[in-house]
């Protein structure tokens, strides 16, 4: 049995959440490791949400929004870009590999892309192993005995 990472996905309502929905209705197969939280706009994502997810034991966090220029709220995703760039620099200080966190753009028509993004982050996080700040007992449990 391999390590199955737990990844929190925070998705904007208009593009990425709808895109993920499309992946489902299109019967596209992809890894089940991302657990989705919906927000109205990726601009709603407070960096503390990501820290909270890591603190609660997530192995990875994926924030997904509309492509730049396509934001339903005109420019919310531009603010996300700025915030997430700053957050990424801070993650290492918390003992979290910055690679565990990713910001992606998935439009409402990109079901395929959503599946691809999910598969990719899952595989990447899988290689990194369980999060170091994950509660110890749970960390051992997550790595199956060889």
């Amino acid at each position: 049995m391999t390590f199955e990472p737990k990844i929190v996905g925070i998705l904007c309502n208009w593009c990425s959440y709808t895109g993920a929905d499309l992946a489902g209705t299109s019967r596209i197969k992809y890894l089940p490791n991302v657990r989705v939280v919906r927000v109205m706009c990726s601009g709603r994502v407070d960096p503390t949400f990501i820290l909270k997810a890591f603190a609660d034991g997530a192995d990875g966090v994926l924030v997904a929004g509309c492509h730049p220029g396509d934001c339903h709220y005109i420019e919310g995703n531009y603010k996300t870009i700025r915030r997430m760039a700053l957050l990424k620099r801070m993650l290492a200080d918390y003992g979290i590999e910055p690679e565990r966190f990713r910001l992606e753009w998935v439009s409402a028509g990109e079901g395929e892309r959503w599946a691809h993004v999910v598969n990719q982050i899952t595989e990447d996080v899988r290689k990194l192993g369980p999060s170091k700040i994950r509660p110890a007992a749970k960390r051992e449990a997550a790595v199956p005995a060889a």
């Binding site: 737990k6 657990r35 706009c41 994502v45």
Partner: protein, 585 residues
Amino acid sequence: MKTIKLKIDGIETEAEDRTTVLTIAQKLGIKIPTLCHHPLLEPYGVCRICTVEVRLGKRIRMVTACNYPATNGVEVLTNSPRVRRDRKMILEWMMARCGHVKVIEDLAAEYGIIEPRFGRGDDDCILCGLCVRVCSDVVGANVLGFFNRGATREVSTAYGETSEKCIACGACAYVCPTGAIRIENDAALVRQELPLGPLTPIYVPFLQAVPHQPVIDRESCIHFKTGECKVCDKVCEVKAVDHTLEDTIENIDVGAVILATGFKQFDPAAISEYGSGIYPNVLTGLEFEKMNSASGPTGGQIMLKDGEIPKSVGIIHCVGSRDERNNKYCSRVCCMYALKFAHLIKEKTGANVYNFYIDMRCFGKGYEEFYHRLLEEDVRFIRGRAAEITNYPLNEQEAGKLIIRVEDTLIGEVRRVPVDMVILATGLEPVADAAEIARTFNISCGNGFFTERHPKLAPVSTATDGIFIAGTCQGPKDIPDTVAQAGAAASAVQSLISRGEIEVEAATSAVDPERCSGCRICNTLCPLSAISFDEEKKVTVINDVLCKGCGTCAAACPSSAILARHFTDEQLFSEIEGVLYDVRA
């Protein structure tokens, strides 16, 4: 004003005291010849040709009708034998100076002069002074004046030199009765420039303009150059002309706005190998449209710069469209207007028409049929993007022509096509200040064209409620599509008005004034300008109607004072905890 009674050519009439005899006669329809008279200028009385016989009691006088004020009881004869004799003499004297001027020769013939007794002079100025007076009294430029005296008297500019004060308005040439003054302008003799602006200083913007009223072009109006003229004001009977009007900014409260800011024509100067602006017979689509228009400078005649009719015309498609160097998109209208041009050129001039195209995109109803009709009309189609337009001939056939170099991709050969005129089917571009307009109305703007809320489901709405878009500001489109979109936008607004109320977003954000520190970080974040700052209370407030609940402000608030309803921090934290239930400590 006192009213007087008088008799003209036996007709009894009444008039205001001191009215000139000429004015009264003209009102009665009695023709008195004039040369130095113009209704907009003060009477001058120098040409004497309007001489009439005035009788008051026993007294008989010969006076000039243009400046003789009528008094009570006078009797005027405008065509008595004595008047005819005097006018004949005046004309003979005039001919001694100007023996070959048409207007005087015509008058002479009318008065029975076969050959003037004093010979015929070669001058063409009768010194009537109309030009001098119009230049000083109407135009206000004071460029022309009389010089010398007696037989050597002449009209001239100061020292006979070209005056810097002359604004080349042409008023002097216009009023000159003999045609002694001509405006020297080579372009006027052949095809005029094809300005996209108005042709005259006073014009109706376009035929269907609402309101259908003429406007004054400040750039070319004489009044705005010299402060004088105002001829339009003088001739307007209802006194509707007002030169003092200024642009004003008015605030109008509205509930919805339709943006229809249109497009700008692609400037082909960016493609230097087509020589637009260098070769005079290379025209843009709009320039040709102007020339081809019946109300344009050539009256709809298709002609070359030298006034000749073209024998062959090349139309280059996709100028500035579908081009990696300029705009990658298809401008949608050029194929069809190029076909229209080809058809009209063929019809009006019979010239050979060559279309240089990448792909023919005849997508609309009846468009493909039109293309086929042109194929049957013997319009040539050469598939290939024109590489260059040059005027450098390689053989005799190409001499004096514009040569279009192109790879004909259907026969796989590089060709040189000599033509007389080239029309560039210029594409559509967003207006220069599109980004600024988008910012003003809080809508998004992708590559200069405004973005609709949804490309299929909400093609006339925008991200901001109450702002609608129509026409080429949203993307290149032809007239039928523009009309359809404009109709949809208008009915979208109508439905808002007729409903009388609007629905607002429920999931909005709200500020807790107790926790707000007044840092104003969120103030500039709102894409919809829903956030303002209460200067009195020093806290931020959110307008519930404008807020669409994106939550960007809530994410940025350092004191967690903003509550994003339905997506509060607590709710989202709980959700994160929920999705991680199995790994939480």
